[in-house]
């Protein structure tokens, strides 16, 4: 195999912004040199190396060898914030637990979407805790140990007192 052609193919695949097709390579090669053969030679050369020639979307591209990828992979943690409605619901559950969904809606003055409840359940921050013995027996909700962990609280009593929070108690009609 023509060493110069392999070097050129190597540089082209390396520098290209996307997969390189045999046709693209062929345009750079002198007459009589088959792009397919050059690519095959390049593939053989990189076989078993840290980087390998992979077939992707109609072309070839260098790619980290599969066995090395996990060692190079870096996990970047980007914590997400809860949406406002979920945060408010969580706060109400924390202060009023055990509390029913209608009670949460009453306190927030807004309907509680199922997705909001699901988000809190999925995050393991709240859990059902029995049913209220009133007609319809609605589920009672309470915070979980994961809630304490997440907020770095030892105990629910570590939360600021409601009275400390509300400088002016919400008198009816005032707020």
């Amino acid at each position: 195999m023509d060493e110069d052609a392999v070097r050129l193919a190597e540089a082209l695949v390396f520098a290209s912004g996307g997969p390189v097709t045999a046709r693209q390579l062929q345009q750079l090669l002198p007459d009589g040199v088959e792009a397919e053969a050059v690519i095959a030679a390049l593939r053989a050369r990189y076989s078993g190396r840290g980087v390998e020639l992979a077939d992707v979307a109609g072309g070839v591209q260098f790619r980290t060898a599969e066995d090395l990828a996990p060692r190079l992979r870096k996990v970047v943690q980007v914590p997400r914030r809860l949406p406002r409605a979920a945060m408010e619901t969580l706060a109400i559950v924390a202060y009023h637990q055990p509390v029913t969904r209608p009670e949460i809606e009453e306190i927030r003055g807004a309907a509680l979407a199922q997705t909001t409840l699901d988000a809190l359940l999925e995050a393991g921050l709240i859990a059902p805790k029995g049913r209220k013995e009133v007609p319809g027996r609605p589920t009672l909700w309470a915070t979980t140990p994961a809630f304490l962990l997440q907020f770095g609280l030892r105990d629910l009593r570590d939360l600021p007192k409601r009275e400390d929070l509300l400088v002016e108690p919400p008198a009816a009609g005032e707020m």
Binding site: V75, V78, R80, G173
Partner: protein, 254 residues
């Protein structure tokens, strides 16, 4: 680069001056200095000054609009030339100093131009060498963790309470007042069982939480008493002004 004077054929001796080929007076001066083909440290400043002034003079002759900085440089060089031409005297030091400043500036520009040329001659990434077209991103973003803090929880709680309170329609506080009708019914049912004089306020209902309710009930009971006294069902008596009002069953002489 050496396009300060581009000779044209018509008329043969005239020069079309293209100062715009230079980036400012210093650029032109450096080019003229290089024309002397000697080390910058040994150029003849006087010759250089004269060349510059000649170029500017020529440019003005062809009525070119000359930018201020070309003329400022010309004025300064004219001054320098006059100092260089006078025989050694008081002004010589000043002229020498000015010459050094000019030579220093030319040397610095020369050095920077050489540096630019050196950089330009380097194998340049993106021109002569190419880096990997697409870097592989081996970072994995983990968004499973939640960013939560107690402060945010408090803010959320307060805003929930505010909205909750704001969402409720305004209802004036209900006050339950003892009506005259209720007082009449109560007085009628009780007065028969108490034949002797008794204080009217003993006929008030048992549960009166506020003084407003108490005063309202007292007024209603008085009105009920007066109404019943009018029909003769009860008799009312008051021993002294503001004294207790006494009531008993009517119909009999007391």
């Amino acid at each position: 680069m050496c396009s300060a004077m581009v000779p044209t054929s018509d008329p043969p001796d005239a020069l079309v001056l293209r100062l715009d080929g230079f980036e400012g007076p210093l650029d032109l001066l450096l080019d003229l200095a290089r024309g002397q083909k000697v080390d910058l440290a040994r150029i003849s400043i006087l010759a250089l000054v004269e060349q510059y002034l000649a170029v500017i003079e020529g440019a003005r002759r062809v009525r070119l609009e000359l930018a201020a900085d070309w003329l400022v440089m010309a004025a300064w060089l004219t001054w320098l030339k006059s100092r260089l031409l006078v025989p050694k005297g008081a002004d010589a030091d000043e002229a020498e100093e000015a010459t050094e400043v000019l030579a220093g500036r030319l040397a610095e520009l020369q050095a920077m131009r050489a540096a630019a040329a050196w950089l330009n001659a380097r194998p340049t990434l993106g021109q002569d060498l190419f880096a990997r077209g697409v870097a592989e991103d081996l970072r994995v973003t983990d968004r499973s963790k939640l960013a939560l803090d107690v402060g945010g929880l408090m803010r959320a709680y307060l805003s929930a309470l505010r909205r909750g309170a704001g969402a409720k329609p305004y209802r004036p506080p209900t006050v339950s007042l003892w009506s005259v009708q209720q007082a009449l019914a109560r007085l009628a049912s009780l007065v028969g069982s108490l034949p002797d004089w008794s204080a009217l306020d003993t006929y008030l209902p048992e549960r009166l939480d506020t003084s407003l309710e108490r005063r309202g009930a007292l007024a209603s009971t008085l009105l009920a008493g007066l109404e019943m006294a009018r029909g003769g069902a009860v008799r009312l008596r008051q021993e002294a002004a503001f004294g207790p009002i006494l009531v008993r069953r009517g119909g009999e002489d007391g």
